[in-house]
Symmetry: D2
Subunit: 133 residues, 4 copies
DNA sequence: TTTT
DNA sequence: TTTT
């Protein structure tokens, strides 16, 4: 009845853009979120959380999100079930984003390339109806 | 850096209570959260989300949570990695609760048993330091 | 850059429906949210939070929300400034809802009237673009 | 029964530190949160939201928070009522923080002063029991 | 009294 | 496969 998750973390890699068979745009990325404690050995741990974005949000994520950028992700936690090749039931957890914001300044583009600063703090939010799955 | 999830859904089964080797109490349960849409075939779908609670919160969850009850769960999404028997890397997603509240009235106890109404709307919240993992 | 509030509480009165000059529907209501503690005198306290909903959400809130119902409200906190009749600057805080859900069963309608159960757990969510102010 | 707010915005001024009569530390600050739209005249608007932090959190906020810094604030919305000098009932809205994080790097200290970078991304979270009001 |  |  209610499912809301809010994450702030860094992209572990550049987002990947793909298209479904009927042409819907989808972007996937992984966000590393440091845990709120250190282990007894004094080490930091992180959760690596898969995020999926659809349509216009996918395109914006793909354009502005790069490995290392600090992102705020808002969405819902989705658990997908499937059967693997060995006929075993598996589950996949991912956050279906409806809002992504980049909180740091983009990295200086390589070799003098122009930077588009307009994304800093840009609001990218989608209606639930724009999320196909 | 920030990891917050808020769920409202129903317990798919009674919580399970266990103890770690050093005696820490831990409760696990699964919450079914209906998705915010119906499929093209008009079917409702749900995400079945594993929840883990520690210490005092585990005990309260175990006492007041029963299959079918409507629960609000607040916590963080944790992704644990492990290697299975076939030496394959697997991931488990679960919500580490720091706050659980039951939003409906408890089911009438069987056979005239006394009901403890005190849990209805009770605030059960734990400090991050009370969560061992 | 980010402003999200989630409340669960009870309506202190039936919602009020009005229309702006250009015909936009707007509903206002107050939600009582018990505080997470009792005072030293053992008394419960509550925050009485004004909520405003626009357009289609306003109509649904008006139809299904009645005094005493348990509601989940999601939105953003808005602080409006104005000058009162004595030329003093005043501030008003209100939650602009983009999602309202009723978590309890509706009260039995008076005098044998039919009940519409369809609202129980219904998802009512609006796009940011449907919120005029 | 549930009251959670999450804000990201910039401090409009340095936090103010005070002490209650019984010696409890309290910090107040205002966070400017830009609204998710521009007006028809193309202007950006912001909500100026008062935030209050207690005890250890107050001290940390006071130490690391300066005018202009980007902060994430998590807490609950509190509406306090009081009667003013003209015997009129007034209401004050403020966020009681239980978690504050600074998301940008601190400003370079003036005149070669040493910078303490340790706060960047530091987790500052308090137990509900540490919040006196 | 308002931040970038 | 993991980010700062």
């Amino acid at each position: 009845m209610f499912n809301r998750i809010i994450l702030i973390g860094r992209l572990t890699r550049d987002p990947e853009l793909r298209y479904t068979q009927n042409g819907t745009t989808v972007a996937t990325m992984t966000v590393a979120v440091n845990r709120p404690y250190t282990t007894k050995e004094g080490e930091k741990e992180a959760d690596f959380i898969d995020v999926i974005a659809w349509n216009k949000l996918a395109e914006i994520v793909n354009e502005y999100g790069q490995k290392g950028r600090l992102a705020l992700v808002e969405g819902r936690l989705q658990i997908r079930s499937y059967t693997d090749k060995e006929e075993k039931k598996r589950k996949v957890a991912e956050v279906v984003a409806n809002n992504v914001r980049f909180l740091d300044k983009p990295k200086q583009a390589e070799s003098g390339e122009e930077i588009d600063w307009s994304d800093f703090g840009t609001e990218i939010e989608v209606d639930e109806e724009d999320i196909p799955f």
